[in-house]
């Protein structure tokens, strides 16, 4: 790969694979522990449920992974899901065409992401402020657009996207593996992917090597927005309804999944595959709380603790490998 982008250092993939390996061990340990404490865990239905929830989280978090790889952040993904889902849902209802609705939902997500990218590059606003501002702008637009109403009842062929099965496995799970493959190939086997790593690892070196930093940054924010648009469609198909506040509570879990998956906030380190494992870990935690009948109100609390712990553990292990 190094001949694709001359001068950029080779990425250390063996370290990344080791990090994913440790996390898969954690997944296995959690599964064993949950199977021991709860009879309901190892039922086919519950396993499919975990996978389906992890799929939605992964799709949202996979685009976010690219943003965080550039040492950026996208706090607007949850609000993006809400607006994209509402737009797709209302258009689908009005025109009766799932394809048109889905296309507009995806376009809306991508557009919000691209605006984020332009705010970060052209307006030079720090990413977490730019995307935090966008969160509230998009949130307000969604409320204004929906005006408190709900749309529901979509065509069956669209609903299959979220709640359908093929060979006994939910469709979102296939999408999860499809986008895992696309994400891994894009990030690790293409020039653009390498350049994204380079921008996060060392922006000065990347610029001196001729990487068009601004264009790559706009690309990752647009991709993050596009994945939010895709996640919104699956969410919409699953719920079979949309209102102004859906998806809002997804931002923190999505960021958590990326960070648990071993992507460093400081950029340049991490993998899309790790994010899938991160999404599985977080989903297992929340599923376990559910099975043990813990108070569902404590979910944001647990997710918050996990975010901080994940970053802390990540910093500890990296410090050790560096020294």
């Amino acid at each position: 790969m190094s001949e694709l982008v001359a001068g950029l250092p080779k990425h250390d993939w063996s370290g990344e694979f080791k990090a994913i390996g440790y996390r898969l061990l954690a997944v296995a340990a959690m599964c064993i522990a949950l199977a021991l404490v709860s009879d309901a865990f190892l039922t086919w239905n519950n396993v499919l449920n975990v996978l389906r929830q992890a799929a939605l989280l992964f799709l949202l978090a996979s685009g976010l992974t690219l943003v965080i790889l550039t040492a950026g952040l996208d706090l607007s993904v949850g609000a993006n899901v809400a607006l994209s889902a509402c737009l797709a849902g209302t258009v689908m209802k009005a025109t009766g065409s799932p394809a048109l609705g889905a296309a507009l939902g995806l376009a809306c997500g991508t557009l919000i992401g691209a605006v984020n990218g332009l705010l970060v590059t052209k307006a030079r606003i720090p990413p977490f402020i730019a995307t935090y501002g966008m969160l509230w702008v998009v949130h307000g637009v969604t409320y204004w657009y929906m005006a408190g109403s709900t749309v529901h009842g979509f065509p069956a062929n669209f609903r299959a996207l979220g709640s359908g099965y093929w060979l006994g496995i939910p469709i979102p799970v296939y999408l999860m593996f499809l986008f895992l493959a696309i994400g891994v190939l894009f990030a690790q086997r293409t020039t653009w992917g390498q350049e994204i790593y380079a921008v996060g690892a060392n922006p000065v070196a990347a610029r001196l090597s001729g990487v068009p930093i601004h264009r790559r940054l706009v690309l990752v924010y647009a991709l993050s927005g596009a994945m939010a648009g895709l996640a919104s469609l699956i969410f919409l198909a699953r719920l079979n309804a949309a209102e102004g506040d859906i998806g809002e509570s997804l931002t923190l879990p999505a960021i958590a999944a990326v960070l648990i998956g071993g992507t460093s906030l400081f950029g340049g380190i991490g993998t899309v595959g790790g994010t899938l494992v991160g999404a599985l870990i977080l989903t297992l935690v929340l599923n376990g709380m559910n099975l043990l009948a813990l108070n569902p109100n404590s979910q944001p609390l647990v997710t918050g603790v996990i975010v901080i712990l994940a970053v802390y553990l990540d910093m500890l292990t990296r410090k050790r490998t560096r020294s």
């Binding site: 509230w136 969604t142 901080i308 802390y312």
Partner: protein, 328 residues
């Protein structure tokens, strides 16, 4: 976005005293013009806006925001951020309401609210300064923790039945002046004194502008950084008293997202997210701008979520204009 060093001499060395003065003068017009323009627009478009009662209302409604935005200014001066303030304010309000209902003692209740606010602030500061986790992640995490805590403590229900000793803090008068206005003035004067007339304040500017100089001068900057966040938590806890008084209840999602308005007020007021450049009175003007915008849009019958979106557009616009002025 990763910071891309620009050509030419590096800025941090020049970032302490002289830069502060120049920023102060160049920034007054920006936020003051925005505030004046909004006032003119709303005076023309809605009849009730210039009514003295309405103007007093803007001041009173802005007090809670000011109590968050003042310490947020200090936090942003250290190149930090606190995304947890709205959730911590909510949990403080809920704890205060629950304590006063259980024990009947408003003093104990205020103590509990201050303690939980300060504890969250301390945790934010400690994780930022001593564990070196970036503040926006720390406070994103503690935001989730505080949000969950507020929901668990209340079981997602409102806690009602506040005694007059609590509601007085929002609806009461002292010497004919509404109590919240007095609180706002007192809070500003105290923070002004702290930031501009104490060693603590000087170190706050240095933490963002030139932390190396602070270290070379033998100052334990980490203690002051933790102090800044703890102070933010403490003031957020106190704001919990006014919030509970205003709603006459403790509600588990009352102030979710209010930190955005506080950050917006600081940004509109001309405090920069880099290099420790900022101006405390600018934050007051920023708070008033946010307050006037919300009040005016409210009078025009525009829903709250859209008002917040308007604040978002204003802030992004202000930061954009700001970036056009600085070469890059």
């Amino acid at each position: 976005m990763p910071e891309i060093p620009r050509a030419g001499p590096l800025a941090p060395a020049a970032a302490s005293q002289p830069a502060r003065a120049s920023v102060r003068w160049s920034r007054i017009p920006g936020v003051a013009y925005t505030l004046a323009a909004l006032c003119v627009v709303f005076a023309l478009t809605s009849k009730g806006f210039l009514n003295p009662t309405n103007l007093a209302n803007i001041g009173m409604q802005s007090t809670i925001l000011l109590l968050l935005a003042l310490p947020m200014t200090l936090i942003i001066l250290t190149e930090g951020i606190d995304l947890s303030m709205g959730a911590v304010l909510t949990v403080a309000s809920v704890v205060l309401a629950a304590t006063v209902v259980k024990t009947g003692s408003p003093v104990l209740a205020l103590g509990a609210a201050l303690a939980i606010g300060a504890a969250f602030g301390f945790a934010n500061g400690a994780l930022t300064a001593w564990v070196a986790i970036p503040p926006f992640v720390v406070t994103l995490g503690t935001m989730g923790i505080a949000q969950g805590l507020a929901l668990i403590l209340t079981d997602a229900q409102s806690i009602v039945g506040m005694p007059e000793s609590v509601t007085w803090w929002y609806g009461g008068f002292l010497a004919g002046i509404p109590v919240p206005l007095l609180v706002a003035v007192a809070a500003y004067l105290a923070m002004h004194a702290l930031l501009y007339h104490t060693r603590f304040g000087t170190y706050v500017f240095a933490l963002g502008g030139n932390p190396d100089a602070l270290r070379l001068a033998g100052v334990r900057g980490d203690f002051y950084l933790v102090g800044v966040y703890a102070l933010g938590g403490l003031m957020t806890g106190f704001a919990g008293l006014l919030l509970t008084a205003r709603m006459s209840a403790g509600h588990p999602t009352a102030a979710i997202g209010l930190e955005f308005e506080a950050i917006a007020a600081v940004a509109l007021g001309g405090t920069s997210f880099e290099k420790g450049n900022g101006w405390l009175f600018g934050t007051v003007l920023g708070v008033l701008t946010v307050g006037v915008l919300r009040n005016g849009l409210n009078l025009l019958g525009i829903p709250s979520a859209v008002q917040v979106a308007a604040i978002g557009v204003l802030v992004i616009g202000a930061l954009w204009v700001d970036s056009l002025r600085t070469p890059g």
